[in-house]
């Protein structure tokens, strides 16, 4: 009697080979989708300026406000420069923060503390740390390396009448989350919703893009919310006075302007 494998062996091999080719192809599509999504969400245009109002809301409804001006300029090969000026709260008013972001290596970060007129480098290894006490991490604000996760297209779906790709991202090394589900708009590639799961596979954080506008031709999330479903704490972020292609010079992202924030740009 011939074995099962013997009889169907060649067919099985063909099937396996097809499957092995098919899986990377799907993964590539998903990775490409995430790449496009990151590109429109974090890297739109050559540069960008906005007044950012973050409202941190506790479960009991107590609110704190972080009011800052954010400037971003894209460099070569995925490099970016960020400059932030804090208008409030009062204890950090006048503080400036600058980040040089590099793909696949640690950011350079500088903080200027006006009370003692000092610029200091700060350690940046942990991108999971909360950004100014909000529910957003540094990664949520400026993006995560594409290759840090493996991406899989789970299905296509609809959210609020918009067609979306549902992509699951799993970190290759331990990260803030164990997996992330993202609902990515098929037309604009903006993330409309994201769910973060911990190592017990329990949902703990939900991101929603609550208002999207087209600014100078760039689809832009102008209001977003991150909710920590475990603590009931949430952060609402509103972008105001958004401008793209404003012509930010490289010299702006320097110690000179950290110490003396340029009036023209930080309003």
């Amino acid at each position: 009697m011939k074995t099962w494998g013997g009889r169907y062996g060649p067919a099985l091999v063909v099937l396996l080979v097809t499957a092995m080719q098919a899986v990377p192809a799907a993964a590539t599509d998903a990775t490409e989708t995430v790449r496009k999504s990151q590109s429109v969400f974090f890297e739109a245009a050559k540069d960008f300026q906005a007044r950012v109002k973050m409202t941190l809301i506790t479960r009991d409804g107590q609110q704190r406000l972080r009011d800052l001006t954010m400037l971003r300029k894209n460099g070569e090969a995925g490099e970016q420069k960020y400059f932030m000026y804090f208008h409030s709260p009062a204890d950090v008013a006048g503080t400036t923060f600058m980040v040089y972001k590099f793909p696949n290596r640690d950011d350079d970060r500088w903080l200027f503390i006006p009370a003692i007129n000092m610029v200091n480098r700060i350690a940046a290894r942990d991108s999971r740390s909360s950004f100014v006490g909000s529910d957003f991490t540094y990664e949520d604000v400026s993006g995560r390396d594409l290759s840090a996760d493996s991406h899989t297209l789970v299905k296509e779906d609809q959210i609020g009448g918009r067609k979306v790709y549902v992509v699951e991202s799993t970190p290759r090394n331990p990260a803030e989350y164990a997996r992330k589900m993202a609902w990515i708009d098929q037309a604009t590639f903006l993330p409309l919703k994201e769910e973060y799961y911990d190592v017990q596979d329990a949902l703990y954080k939900v991101f929603t893009a609550d208002e999207i506008k087209e600014v100078q031709g760039f689809p832009t999330v102008v209001r977003r919310i991150m909710v920590n479903v475990k603590t009931g704490h949430k952060t609402e972020v509103v972008f105001e006075r958004i401008q793209y292609e404003v012509g930010l010079g490289d010299d702006l992202f320097s110690e000179r302007y950290l110490r003396r924030p340029p009036e023209r740009w930080i309003k």
Partner: protein, 419 residues
């Protein structure tokens, strides 16, 4: 009545303008109201009205007024305070300056706080005045620095940034005073003291220069300065039977460098400086510090989310040590040839960064002394925060930097409402 436009008019106009939305971007008014108290917990009291357990008690109003337009700006930071220990009320102009900017040149004229170098609470190339009394009695960190009445010019080029500071008015460090602190005094029996500060003369004008640029991802700088030691030397009128001690500030020139950047998964800091004791290059005058080389290696890293750790190693090498020992009067405590210091900082932020637990340690293996500073700070709202902390000193002898403060262990509280 038309009347002349007095300064009061302008201040009032500025204050009114602040309330008008259209002008709000040009004039800003901020500040705080603060209560700050510290008590010695060693049970030991000094004689005199300020020597009780509660050696810091003050209420303070700070006003920060800023205006700017078209490349120029004005900034004023003034504190009005009540010192409940000394029972006086006073004003403290912390900063008051005019900024002007033109092309690649920035000018800042007036009273200003300048901080140089890459150390964390250790200052090598930063020759600007400090208030250690404030620091050791639990006042907020910003009070460690004192403003300099200075002119500062910055020139920015593609190759290097140049910062030049000219300070015509000498400002000494504020050291813990014997009225409020137990401190080491090498002349305990001599109550007559005279302080001779360098007068505001052209020849006494302090100058400091800093050249900086980014090099291979590191922020690097070189420094040079000429001026005076900001802590005094002590000279008795008679070496054997002194009746009066003169506190004076010897000349000092410094030359140094620093670098700071990402390395080993954290931020690495390196700094070194040569202190040229101009008035005692031979090292034979016991009242004047000898020349030294000071160096620092620091490393900070985030161990996990919202926990920052930092360690530093600092050394101070005294030149002409043999001459220094020979010149030292009998019975005087001798400094080591190489004084070493280690610091550790741990800062953990909790509850959406509203709660900050921090711990800072100074420890000298050569002096065998230390200062431990634990602190808890909580932001009740965006406007209100409070902190409670302690300074715990100790040492093998009471003649070293921290050892002399051994009997001053204290607990402090701060509450601040910012607007």
């Amino acid at each position: 009545m038309t009347g002349a436009r007095t300064p009061v008019y302008y201040v009032c106009a500025a204050l009114l303008a602040w309330g008008v939305p259209v002008a709000a971007e040009e004039v800003s008014l901020h500040g705080f109201v603060q209560g700050n108290y510290a008590a010695r917990v060693t049970g030991q009291e000094l004689s005199g009205p300020e020597g009780g357990d509660v050696f810091l008690g003050e209420e303070r109003l700070q006003i920060k007024l800023a205006t700017s337009s078209q490349g120029s700006a004005f900034f004023l930071k003034t504190d009005a305070f009540r010192d409940a220990v000394a029972r006086v009320s006073d004003l403290d102009v912390r900063e008051a300056y005019i900024d002007s900017s033109s092309g690649a040149v920035d000018l800042r004229l007036g009273r200003q706080i300048i901080t140089w170098g890459v150390g964390d609470l250790l200052f090598l190339n930063d020759v600007f005045p400090k208030d250690y009394a404030a620091f050791f009695s639990g006042r907020p960190l910003e009070y460690l620095k004192i403003g300099s009445d200075a002119a500062k010019v910055d020139v920015f080029t593609d190759v290097v940034s140049v910062e030049m500071v000219v300070v015509p008015f000498f400002q000494a460090d504020q050291l813990p005073s014997s009225r409020r602190f137990f401190v080491f005094d090498p002349f305990p029996g001599v109550s007559s003291r005279v302080t001779e500060e360098p007068r505001a003369e052209l020849g006494n004008t302090e100058m400091a220069l800093r050249l900086s640029r980014n090099l291979l991802g590191f922020d690097t700088a070189v420094y040079a300065s000429r001026g005076f030691f900001t802590t005094p030397g002590m000279r008795p009128d008679n070496p054997t039977l002194p009746t009066q001690v003169t506190l004076f500030f010897p000349r000092l020139a410094t030359y140094g460098a620093s670098g700071q950047g990402n390395a080993l998964g954290g931020v690495m800091a390196l700094e070194a400086v040569y202190y040229d004791s101009v008035d005692d290059r031979t090292g034979r005058d016991p009242a004047i510090p000898n020349s030294t080389v000071r160096y620092l290696v620091g490393y900070q890293r985030q161990l996990w989310s919202d926990l920052t750790t930092g360690i530093q190693y600092y050394g101070e090498y005294l030149f002409d040590y043999g001459l220094y020992r020979d010149a030292l009067p009998p019975g005087f405590p001798a400094q080591d040839r190489l004084r070493q210091l280690l610091t550790v900082r741990l800062t953990q932020l909790l509850r959406y960064q509203t709660l900050r637990l921090s711990f800072f340690v100074f420890y000298s293996p050569t002096d065998e002394d230390y200062d431990l500073i634990p602190e808890v700070r909580y932001s009740v709202t965006d406007a209100l925060w409070g902190a409670i902390g302690a300074n715990l000193f100790g040492g093998k002898t009471e003649t070293t930097a921290f050892g002399q403060l051994n009997r001053n262990d204290n607990v402090y509280v701060v509450a601040r409402y910012e607007f």
